[in-house]
Chain length 146, copies 2
């Protein structure tokens, strides 16, 4: 499993969201062979659904399945407590995070429950999110319930 | 705010889900005057969306808003860790739970973060969920990521 390659695909999702006028946060689910089984990006602005964070949209697109324990959830940004709870509900054992400098979600919950978390501290993810927050603080704050 | 009245409405949502062939779990969001601002029931079976728990559907139906801190989230069953995380993300301060005998979600997280949780231990909620789990253990286990 190449975590960097999966992150690049999550980044493409984030960029798609940005082009659509939404938040630049992307997510993919990879299987044990590194194949992508689902992808998604934040659709809150586009769809008006406050729960449409990238990871939720990605899991929604993954559909009903029983192989969650074999999957890796990848997100360009540290998952918020809703998305963390979602990964924990489905017992996804491995989470790859592009960056957690602009926002640190509920990583301690992952640690408490034994999820393997890898933070790639990716320069492109950091810059993309920093620029978005600077330009659209209102949209960003709404995204995290502030 | 009449918690029992709100629970009756959540129960109606759950019964609707049951009639549709889905899981009998319902949710409403009430404002400070006891008015219902959104409602929803579990749609996982009906829609194929694994994240479509009652509370998520209810928040989705509530749409983008900034008054979460004035709302009460009501659910017929103790919210799982995904739905708990969702309520925490939006800083919903008050959660009313029909019952937590058939399933105890992540109530300790609500306690840790200061959410006011009321458990009504409602006989009708308990019986409805007990019967469903006995008849459809497979669907129920899938709902909680097992």
């Amino acid at each position: 499993m190449n975590e960097q390659m999966l992150l690049q695909e999550a980044l493409r999702e984030a960029q798609k969201g940005l082009r659509e006028g939404g938040l630049p946060i992307g997510s993919v689910l990879g299987d044990r062979h590194g194949q992508i089984v689902a992808r998604g990006h934040n659709l809150r602005v586009q769809s008006g659904d406050p729960t449409a964070h990238a990871e939720i949209v990605c899991l929604r697109n993954a559909g009903r399945r029983r192989d969650w324990a074999e999957l890796t959830l990848v997100s360009t940004l540290s998952p918020c407590i809703m998305c963390t709870g979602t990964a924990l509900l489905f017992r996804i054992p491995h989470v790859v995070i592009g960056e957690d400098r602009n926002f640190k979600g509920a990583e301690e919950l992952f640690q408490q429950r034994g999820t393997r978390v890898v933070i790639l501290d990716d320069r492109e993810c950091i810059a993309m999110m920093r620029e978005f927050i600077a330009a659209h603080a209102d949209l960003w704050n709404e995204d995290i319930g502030k």
